[in-house]
Amino acid sequence: MLPALVIVFREAIEAGLIVGIVLAATRGVPNRGLWVAYGVVAGVAGACAVAGFAGRLANLFHGTGQELFNASVLGLAVLMLAWHNIWMSSHGRALAADLKKVGAAVASGERTLTALAIVVGVAVLREGSEVVLFLYGIASQGGTTQSAMLVGGGLGLLGGGALSALMYLGLLAVPPGRLFAVTSALITLLAAGMASQATLFLQQAGYLNALLTPLWDTSWLLPQEGPGIAGILGRMMHTLVGYTDSPDGAQLIAYAATVLAIGVLMQIAGRTHSRSHRAVPHAA
């Protein structure tokens, strides 16, 4: 029961935190629940497919298919998160300034719901395929442990969901005027962490062979994973802001470049928007 609980809990936190951020970032946008649900359902279906073809996927591209798949999926999520942030910084100001004026910003918010649904789907796909493989393994072994494993998995899902819900509620406690700034920052760091992880998969596949030496090691302070509260906290920080206890040079560059690129593009998008508004005052 315990291994099922631990694995499902771990994966549920990772996917759940991302869903929580997406929900907070789309606060006040109609139909967001539906889009997030689409993302979750598509992610679960995709996870089953990936788990089913795990062997064949791994053997593609001279045995690096799995690594390339993971890197591509993470890259897609980075692009979608970046697009959401940039789009919102040019069109979502009204939404951020006054949640009562949502009507005007509804259309703009809905545009990026597709991007965020893809992010949710991709997160569930990645974490879910491991859970599916694991639970399938247990189911195929049969025997009396099966029901215990189901209970463990259920408890793990509840626990992971509860932690994610806590973070979501915490975000909702942020004053509406500042919520946009907070979720933008979170989404930027989330994307940077994913970019850093994508470089790991490219390194593992052998496509990135420079700057592989770890720069420092803070696992004594906060291990990225492991038993106990510290391990759970480290894993949450890993998912949320891309915390890595011993990053190498390539990871650090990917992380910094993502933060920089999204930050600069958001600035440019925001400025272009306000200028066009000054030129055409009746546009709003």
Partner: protein, 107 residues
């Protein structure tokens, strides 16, 4: 000619740095790694050829080695390791972490 150039380029792309890396073999049986201690050379890329003799899939997972690789039941896969500083690097089979434990020793 063009095809040959294309194929040559494809090989360059498809056969990254690990082409010449020495391989160590590890087998999973009864959700345990055999051998559980893998010796590799330090400061150069290495490959662990993992054969999964069990019916179920397993994920070779190690934060220290910065790798995670799923190998389906009765299948095999290569786990590519970056150049490692001399030392001990624990790894585990994530789906059966109570029994599937091992360590890579770079020397």
């Amino acid at each position: 000619m063009r095809v040959a150039v294309f194929l040559g380029f494809a090989c360059l792309l498809a056969a990254p740095a690990f082409a010449d890396a020495p391989a160590a073999s590890v087998t999973l049986k009864g959700h345990k790694f055999l051998p559980a201690e893998i010796h590799v050379r330090a400061n150069q890329p290495n490959v662990i050829a993992l054969t999964n003799g069990d019916d179920t899939a397993e994920e070779f997972d190690s934060t220290a080695l910065k790798v995670e690789k799923v190998v389906a039941g009765h299948d095999s896969g290569d786990v590519r390791l970056r150049p490692l500083a001399p030392g001990r690097y624990p790894f585990m089979g994530e789906f059966h972490s109570d029994t599937a434990q091992g360590v890579v020793i770079a020397e």
